[in-house]
Symmetry: C2
């Protein structure tokens, strides 16, 4: 079972992408965790380490997929 983590920050671009991820990701192949970096700033460092540069971003087994562009991590740190 793969592990997918969707990092977002609550912006409209993020919410739109989140819907796609939750609707269309194959739940038989992966478990999905949604992390709101705006609310949970303690996980920003973890996101940066794995290579997340902006949100929304989907990380599956360590591979980072930036989806559209909502905000940079620098902006999320605000």
């Amino acid at each position: 079972m793969s592990k997918a983590i969707f990092y977002h920050a609550g912006c409209p671009v993020c919410v739109d992408a989140e819907q796609m991820i939750l609707d269309y990701l194959d739940k038989s192949k992966t478990t999905t965790e949604v992390v709101h970096l705006g609310n949970d700033q303690s996980r920003i460092e973890e996101a940066e380490k794995v290579g997340v540069k902006s949100v929304p971003a989907l990380v599956i087994d360590g591979n980072v997929y930036h989806i559209n562009f909502g905000a940079s991590l620098a902006d999320v740190k605000g």
Copy 2:
């Protein structure tokens, strides 16, 4: 059943994203078509009309998700 179209141009970023799409998109909810715009330039106009700005891009029921950044459509037209 939704319809997902993955537009790409054969670049490494595209190929990497394609693997994720083909592996993790829920086949019970969507059919997936892969369009190589480098080989099939006749479909660039269609991609532009739906809002694709760069590849790789995933379009599900008209919603465009740009995944990472491989090349702009202008570059694909080359």
